[in-house]
Subunit: 238 residues, 4 copies
């Protein structure tokens, strides 16, 4: 049993990746999580129907194409306060532990503060046994990165899981952090599908990535040549 | 049994509407709610008598002019923190549920950030069954509005009520959001009285609306002609 | 049994008044109150000895010069958060209620934001029965003051006491609010000693008031004549 | 049994001193403390392995060179909120009390906001009995310092310990507060080792102190002569 977390965060990389995988695998929702640690707010859909902000658990059973059962966690928000983050992560772990989870994979973005053409997927793990395995799947371990640690659910689930002796890995797609980044999500998913030994279709993420690319290149075309030059330089520095 | 919430919020539209209806129907107070989630403060009336800040529940039994029992919630403040908002809404729901409430109607303002002459009443509902009914009463369902969802008691009571399978609707009067807006409250009440199938007198709200109108038009007269022109343009743009 | 609260606040008026009265009556400390709602801090005295921040309860039994038993509450800080304020006031009330307190007198400052020569003592009460009595003692009830209510322990103790049917009055000495104001504290004490029907010596407060007066008049002398004029005008406007 | 606290704070003086002493005495870790009052974060080491932020307890038994058993507390963070600070200090005290601790020594920095060549070690104690003893070890008791009291774990552990009748002393090394200050930590350790009647090697702290000195003198060399002059003046004023 694998547990995959993709809550909102930098560039929404984890959320985009997890939601795409849920769609492609046709995983089914089995639980909603509401909490006083979320914003006191309902969202309103296009028809005018309200939905209390929440996190959602999805499940897909192993089958001929999928070696392991998977539980997914996605949602509208993370806990608002440090204490809320701890309490939610603790309850989430208790739940997935009760289902016999053996590996936690948390998905996130790694904000660079500059545009990036070929996002790498950085990794952090709860135990040294996982490092070589993850490197074989293309995960990059970069000394001193992420320097400030991993904040929020992606970090806490690994850290609390480690105390409970559940193995864990965090996959962080490099991203500018300026907007939702489907290209970075796709790179994360390429690694994740290798770990899970499955094949999925990326076309929907690619469509989204192309839309974003079009918008950002339009912005660049509006800029005067000099500025554009500068920005392109920037591309190849980092 | 209908439950109507009108706590302070944008333009105090919900509070003004609910308090006017309580007055007109001669509903009677049956409970005060105090909470550590309210500001640590007493209000002082004109005689110098203190009153701990609170929310108040009013009740009116059905009668020949009123088809349904109604519980009202009005008050000085909403909960100060997200956690407080959740805890208070949860306790409020438990109370009104124990009285057998079948429909929750929350009242609020929808801030436009500009002056508005003929405020519409926007709606959001907890179940699709209510959309057509509400449209028949004049409620407007506008795709993508409110884009940021509904924050606070008006949202939470619907969202938490939905989990408990209690139907709910939020009526939002358009308002500038710059001051208490009795005109918007009146529009909300016109819709609400149709839903409740009752007739009430609006004259007191109209008096208040005229006072506000006088103040805002005086402000406009003080402004130099050019500025005034601009502001009037603004009126008809939005 | 009377309960008198004088915690830090605007101009430290309540604290100065209560501490002076404790000294003059030789009331004795009978309890310390520590709380996680106070700042996480020790104070260090002139010898270098630490003291955890706290509130203190003092007691003086009725005697031939004093008609009633009195409990005093003074201290370094009020609760830091709204929730802390409520929890502390609630615990304080439970304690003094267990001793049979019949009247709560809370002391505070009423900040004017300008210098004031003859501070009045404003009042607010929990029950209309007390208004005339307090007026007879020289307390001023000013329609619409304090407009923003009474925030903190001075307000909450009255408001929560009212729910428990304990009579209460808040005495607010007018003060600039710019510095600790022993003159305002003295005015509050003049009223309070009339209520308690006792006579005390004010000389120590007067010494402190003279020191403050000297400092503020020196500041005025440094100012150029024109500024000085203006400030004196200010004195007589409010 | 002595309990020594060296959590992060001004100039990280306490943390540097405690960690150096743990290393030199080869004290062994016997407990980790995790808390919802810490930041919701994992740290990532150079290999990419995560560690939930925490505090750590170390222990060294008395031996021929060490008169007393010692428990150390060091860690990544202090509690984030006032309430968290109280709860953590309370739990820490309960733990060390259960081991029979007779003396609490908290280590910290005393920020001067200017460069300092020969940092003194200021003291604050929980009982007057300790003042002369500490003076004999070179601790400076300076009337009115620290004026704002001692905030955080170094203060709370003393203050709460005092209520439980456990003696305590806080040793504060003077520091600019601009950067981690191993020189100040060394001065604190000189006093602390006298109190504990042990001899330790300071060479590693001296290496760190020299590195910092080099950096700050380089910064001074870069500055234009006039600025440099000014800064040196500053050195000898305070």
């Amino acid at each position: 049993m694998v547990f995959i977390e993709g809550l909102p965060g930098v560039g929404n990389v984890g959320k985009l990746a997890a939601e795409h995988l849920i769609d492609e695998l046709h995983a089914e929702k089995f639980a909603d999580m509401y909490s006083k640690y979320f914003p006191p707010q309902v969202l309103v859909d296009d028809d005018g129907i309200v939905k209390l902000v929440r996190n959602e658990f999805y499940f897909i059973k192993h089958n001929k194409n999928l070696e392991s059962d998977i539980i997914f966690l996605v949602g509208d928000y993370q806990g608002l306060t440090p204490e809320g983050q701890y309490k939610l992560s603790y309850e989430i772990l208790k739940l997935v532990e009760s289902y016999g989870v053996k590996l936690i994979i948390t998905l996130g973005g790694y904000g660079l503060g500059r545009m990036i053409d070929k996002p790498k997927v950085l990794g952090a793990v709860s135990t040294s046994d996982l490092i070589q395995k993850m490197k074989d799947y293309g995960v990059v371990f970069q000394r001193g990165e992420p320097g400030s640690g991993i904040v929020g659910a992606s970090g806490l689930l690994l850290g609390l899981g480690k105390i409970k002796n559940i193995d864990g890995v965090c996959l962080m797609g490099e991203t500018s952090g300026y907007f939702a980044d489907p290209k970075s999500a796709q790179e994360v998913l390429k690694v994740l599908t290798k770990i899970l030994n499955i094949t999925i279709d990326f076309s929907e993420l690619e469509v989204k990535a192309n839309q974003i690319d079009k918008i950002t290149s339009q912005i660049r075309d509006i800029e005067p040549p000099k500025m554009k030059q500068k920005e392109e330089d920037l591309h190849y520095i980092g």
